[in-house]
């Protein structure tokens, strides 16, 4: 098997070698970056069979636990980690393809370096089995996010990245204090070992304080209501390719880490009304805020928050069906939201406008972009046969089993989402406008068309994704005992 450290290491290698390649030949940067990201994607994909076989801890520096002692840092590969990892791999490839024209020539080197560092950080968060390691990778990812958001260098993006940096460092401070409290209660930093010891000790007041601190700390990264304030401005002022990349990684670093820690460390797998409440408020708040936005990418960001509510709601139900729906919605959401960000980016890049009311009639000039946007809009609103419907249908079923009122709210939010997207589709692509533009080049339409194809395929054949990727992952999250016992297998002889 390939150790899971290899893709992380490859991203770090690519981040620091791309500038050297740029020194030798400026034109070689983009092919080199694309090659590296494709290679990492293939490597992550090839981990599939190991991930499905069960939890395969990989101990860094060969610090394999001996009986009674666990000292090393372990990377744990399981179906959930693979699912989020493959999304990071896919999106790094698409981001580098898309960014070729947008970024231009002058500062491309540092852009590719930042993209690779972001991949390394978020992949580390996904694969790690150690809480302090998770904190370090999360900080790496935060710093790179700040760099990517500030990349355009204008006042708006600098302001957004400063706000993001202050909030993110406050959040990670909470996270760190929470981790240290857990360490002082249990005397270990390994997630499985902490869970094992907490299981023996029971939830003491100190562990509860740690839980709250970690929940807030990762909550800012997950950006559910009301911790979302940094997110719309940061995502809308990043370069367009980077916005898509950050959407692809946000769920790996936020939602995944949150669910993993809640389920494994604290053993919460039942119905959680707190998560359901957060999910409902996030869904409604996000969509209502989105309806009043006129900035194209800000609107998409608020819709991303609203869709996050579906995932948290479904995960909070605590049923197998709910968890399946939640994870399937993550996959679908990342695909269509990434595509929407690419389409919005293409429009903004060609017209130079960010306000949807100043655009119009672009379907004639940019037919492929309009097609991608239409597929994305129908997917996010849950219209069959697109992929958003497939996962929302599972979520509707799962919520109906717990409380039909939740289903009604979810349907209402879908209807509001559809209204909002149709309005923007009309404003941007139909009607009359002053902008006479060309379709964007093939490096930009290619990623959009690929994502649109994936959206339609997943909508038509959801069973394949469910059977091979989603259901094993949901099972893994619902059964934290298996994680703990297989990571700690060496410790008990």
């Amino acid at each position: 098997m390939i150790p899971p450290i290899i893709p992380i290491g490859l991203y770090l290698f690519a981040a620091f070698v791309t500038p050297v390649v740029g020194r030798i030949n400026r034109n070689a940067r983009w092919p080199f970056a694309l090659l590296m990201s494709l290679l990492s994607f293939v490597l992550i994909a090839s981990l599939y069979s190991d991930a499905q076989a069960g939890y395969t801890p990989y101990w860094l520096g060969n610090w394999v636990p001996v009986v009674g002692t666990l000292m090393g840092i372990g990377l744990v590969l399981d179906p959930v980690a693979w699912l989020f990892g493959i999304l990071i791999g896919l999106f790094s490839v698409l981001c580098i393809m898309y960014s070729k024209e947008e970024i231009g020539d002058a500062h491309a080197t540092r852009y590719y370096s930042l993209v690779f560092l972001a991949c390394a950080g978020s992949l580390g968060v996904v694969f790690t089995g150690d809480l302090f390691n998770l904190f370090v990778f999360l900080e790496l990812f935060n710093f790179v996010c700040v760099g990517l958001v500030a990349y355009n260098g204008n006042e708006r993006s600098l302001n957004a990245s400063f706000n993001f940096l202050v909030l993110a460092s406050l959040a990670t401070t909470f996270l760190l204090v929470g981790i240290i409290i857990l360490y002082s209660v249990t005397g270990t930093l390994n997630i499985a070992h902490i869970a094992y010891k907490l299981g023996a000790l029971g939830l003491e007041p100190a562990s509860l304080v740690a839980l709250v601190l970690i929940f807030i700390g990762i909550g800012v990264k997950t950006s559910f209501f009301p911790l979302h304030t940094w997110m719309p401005e940061a995502y809308s002022s990043a370069p367009h390719g980077a916005s898509m990349l950050l959407i692809g990684m946000k769920y790996g670093t936020g939602l995944y880490a949150l669910l993993r820690i809640l389920s494994v460390v604290f053993g919460f797998v039942g119905t959680s009304w707190l998560l359901i409440l957060i999910g409902v408020v996030t869904m409604l708040g996000g969509v209502l805020m989105a309806m009043v936005q006129s900035d194209f990418k800000r609107m998409l960001s608020y819709h991303a928050i609203s869709q996050l509510g579906y995932m948290i709601l479904a995960a909070g139900l605590g049923t197998m069906l709910g968890m399946t729906g939640s994870l399937f919605h993550v996959l679908n959401h990342v695909l269509y939201k990434g595509m929407l960000f690419l389409a919005a980016g293409a429009v903004i890049w060609r017209t130079g406008e960010t306000d949807v009311n100043k655009m119009g009639g672009l379907a004639k000039y940019m037919p492929l972009t309009a097609l991608a946007y239409a597929v994305g809009a129908l997917s996010i609103s849950g219209v069959p046969p697109f992929n958003g419907f497939a996962s929302k249908w599972i979520i509707y079923n799962a919520t109906f089993q717990v409380n039909p009122l939740l289903t009604a709210i979810a349907l209402l939010v879908s209807a509001l989402t559809l209204a909002s997207f149709l309005k923007v589709f009309h404003a941007v692509f139909l009607g009359k406008g002053n902008n006479v533009v060309k379709e964007v080049p093939a490096t930009m339409t290619g990623p959009m068309m690929l994502l649109a194809l994936l959206c339609i395929l997943l909508g038509l054949f959801p069973d394949i994704a469910l059977q091979y990727a989603i259901e094993p992952a949901a099972k893994a999250l619902m059964n934290p005992g298996a994680y703990i016992s297989s990571v700690l297998a060496g410790m008990f002889g």
């Binding site: 302090f132 370090v136 900080e139 710093f143 700040v146 760099g147 500030a150 260098g153 204008n154 006042e155 600098l158 302001n159 990245s161 400063f162 706000n163 940096l165 202050v166 460092s169 406050l170 401070t173 760190l176 204090v177 240290i180 360490y183 002082s184 930093l189 304030t229 940094w230 401005e233």
Partner: protein, 111 residues
């Protein structure tokens, strides 16, 4: 002794959070962030500290009765590095914003 240290850590962290929330000047916010970091680092160190024990360095010919926990100290080193990078990154953003606006005052997050 240890309780006094906890109060001190909490005071540092609290003062820092207060500063981040209340101050309008970017430099003061950055200073407040590093005050929080100091409080957190101190907190980590106190978690590994054992009264009247030696540092965990083995030397031949020296005997010891007990050792302090070395892991929190290692974690603190990482945390200090991260804190320094936060400060550097925030300062560079502040410089960029100052060049754009001519003021160090923050603008609220737009709704």
């Amino acid at each position: 002794m240890s309780n006094l240290l906890f109060v001190l850590c909490a005071a540092l962290i609290g003062a820092g959070i207060m500063g981040v929330l209340v101050k309008k000047n970017m430099l003061k916010i950055i200073i407040a962030l590093s005050v929080i970091d100091s409080g957190v680092n101190m907190f980590i160190i106190t978690r590994g500290y054992v009264d009247s024990c030696t540092a965990p360095i083995l030397e031949s010919g020296k005997s010891f009765s007990c050792l302090v926990d070395p892991i929190p100290q290692a974690l603190t080193l990482t945390s200090i590095v991260i804190g320094a990078s936060v400060t550097a990154l925030a300062l560079s953003l502040a410089i960029g914003l100052y060049k754009n606006r001519g003021t160090l005052s923050i603008k609220g997050i737009e709704k």
